[in-house]
Amino acid sequence: MSDDELIWRIAGGSGDGIDSTSQNFAKALMRSGLDVFTHRHYPSRIRGGHTYVEIRAADHEVQSRGDGYNFLLALGDSFARNPSEDAYYGNEELKPLSENLDDLREGGVIVYDEGLISEEDVEELNLEERAEENGWHVYPMDLRGLAKEHGREVMRNTAGVGVTAALLDMDLEHIEDLMSDAMGGDVLESNLEILHEAYEIVEEEYEFEHDLRAPEGSHETEQALLSGSNAIAYGAIDAGCRFISGYPMTPWTDVFTILSQNFPDMGGVSEQVEDEIAAAALAVGASHAGVKAMSGSSGGGFALMSEPLGLAEMTETPLVLVEAMRAGPSTGMPTKPEQGDLEHVLYTSQGDSQRVVFAPGTIEEAYEQTRLAFDIAWDYQIPVILIYDQKLSGENKNVDVEFFDREPSPDLGSTLTEEELREAAHDNSGKFKRFDYENAEDGVAPRSLPGQQNGRYLATGNEHSPVGHISEDPDNRVYQMDRRLEKLESIREELDEERESTQTYFGDEEADYGIITWGSSQGAVEEAVGRLNEQGHSVKGIGVSDMMPFPEAEMTEFLESVDEAIVVEMNATAQFRGLVQKELGRFGEKMTSLLKYNGNPFEPAEIVEGFEVNIADEDREPTAQVRIEPAAGD
């Protein structure tokens, strides 16, 4: 836990403008020279329900949410359905205050809207007593009244930001600039008035008892604040993807929306269609006809894509799908993160899987691996799936603008031109031998596109002969199957030998203990490894991105080099640990799982604690919200 950081939590109801307010405040902190990282918690509702966004800001890089937080802005839920504690969902009006107290660090600051949250309610919370116990500093203010006086009630966000800035001794300059960018006319004027009024009231009328101030920092290069969904969408744009088809589903919708909004200006096509079966089938059709296409969904929608996915495998149609996991099974918890779809994505669809799966761990990796996904898909004519989750999808982080300054790669990979098709192998009726195993390199059988001269062939989900005719000939079957599977080996070789590893390592190479994770839990593990080493433990970590083909060599080396390892993942059945054991056939006795599946991502402290209890053998029970799955044989 670091003292020089601000973790600001803004809480209210869905529809209270929590998201946009936090986005702007995060940008203001970024512009002031700080590194920022956001974490979003929201219910599956349009209006009301407890929601918050946390912004962690520090003068050094932040890759994860922190442990708890130190500043609460509780706006009250203006869409609360039943402001009574007897109600099924409790007193929702009070929740932005009551629900957030447990995670507030000692010495933390609380600002709440006394225009919405009544004095009696606050008394019932025993806020005064708890504040005394925990050293909290409480500053009530009538944000609603202030907003109404100068503008409209909904502007109480702005009042809250003004109070925050004053209490943290922040300059208003960046906040004002961002407001001016986002609005104009009377709305801007009212908001600026509210901002200043709130700031001045605090300065003039409030006595500061707290020590917390906004950290100071500076950036050497220009920064941009973006989410994992932005990064995936931007990676797709730079890879030359210009076709997306989808059906709305949280949290995948973010990527779909970003591309749908950008494609019209880029000559691209977005199709919102009747269901996810159609969505995936459209992407297959567009790709077949020569466009770099993608589709995606979250768990339930991805289930519907199983069959088109298999069709893409069998017809060797390049395709990129994204799967944004949320807590399952079935509808599960639609707005909560989980890493429970790994096995679903690896093995869904009938027959032997012939696909590539990447799990990016950070926003930068999300961009890089999306581009990699398109490269591999079009070079090898194979579906590539990016698996991520609600956490990576929605979290925002500052990234160096120059990171994105690179050339686009719209190349269609192993697709032939008409000139090349003239020289290619044909049968005696002139049909192109697309699936010719004799001329395939690395298992890849280059393709033609409909409309090209000398390229006609039949693509079919049935097993097929070199020109595509349905064939159940045993020799041909084995040749075709082996050729398709050879592509996976070729990809594994390319990933191992020709490209920079997509796995991320942290800590000392010589360390005795390992922490293994995959996908979006990487940031929390990285921070935990850092802390454990500061405490004197000998620990290193790995964040794995290659799910299929599995990075056998790297994982073997890592596991051989440590005495024991913890596998950290957000699911209840240790799916990734199972994959490691399946792929490597050993190390089961070395790996203990640390599992979390309560709907919230790991905090670094939970991982530190998991290590202390399980590897350093401290004699205590771990946090109730985290489960330990002992190593094989234990």
Partner: protein, 311 residues
Amino acid sequence: MSAFNAIGDERETDRDEYTPGVEPQPTWCPGCGDFSVLKSLKQALPEVGRNPEEVLTVTGIGCSGKLNSYLDTYGFHTIHGRALPVARAAKLANPDLEVIAAGGDGDGYGIGGNHFIHSARENHDITYIVFNNEIFGLTKGQTSPTSPKGHKSKTQPSGSAKTPIRPLSQSLTAGASYVARTAAVNPNQAKEIIAEAIEHDGFAHVDFLTQCPTWNKDARQYVPYVDVQDSDDYDFDVTDREEAAEMMRETENVLNEGTVLTGRYYVDEDRPSYTEEKRAVGEMPDEPLAERYFDDDAEWERSYDLLDRHK
């Protein structure tokens, strides 16, 4: 310069060009109506001036799905019920392609019913031929969505309790801009209707009655048939939605009573195709998207230029 030179190549073609030189032995039974669909396509395509490599034939699963094994164009034999979404996207990716989708009644009106409704609704400029034999053939004779009520099969041993789907009415309601029914036993009409459907700019749906001599022996062979345009007994305007709807209903009502009505039912030349609609709202490029990937001078937009909104 185009990367797709088969498209718009206006050379003369004939039906032999559409016949694979190494023709796979058709898996269709002797006397199957499916042969007639194949034949009418082989006649219609040269007649409307298309060459095999500018045509993409997309099929579903079933006996009908084998169509592109025996029709030598570009082909995509997809999965059960999903020919339409694959076909639609190919058309969006390269609108200059001639895209023909085909499947059976189970494929199109059953498992793919949702896609049928939405493809018609959106009026994609593709031809959709449904081989309607009122039975599941390839899986050996189960009741299908168009099987008559009371139809006995292995899966409905006491006779189907369901009334059959109304494919023509459904198509019209959903938004198809060309709706016709023809029958395998009426080859001249079939060829003409298929040619018109290909030429039509919009979703052209042809319900093609294809008798199944093996698994639907109870059904008539769709003879005698009546062409509603030629018969003095029927008089309606194919451009009038209400009159078309009434004629379709009548046609669907009498089919299982032994009267086989065929012909054009609805033709709307004014409704813009989906590509036109999408271009009108600015969400579709004027040039075929597929061409851009072969254009060395194309300037590809970069995410780097989108970052201002994130700063």
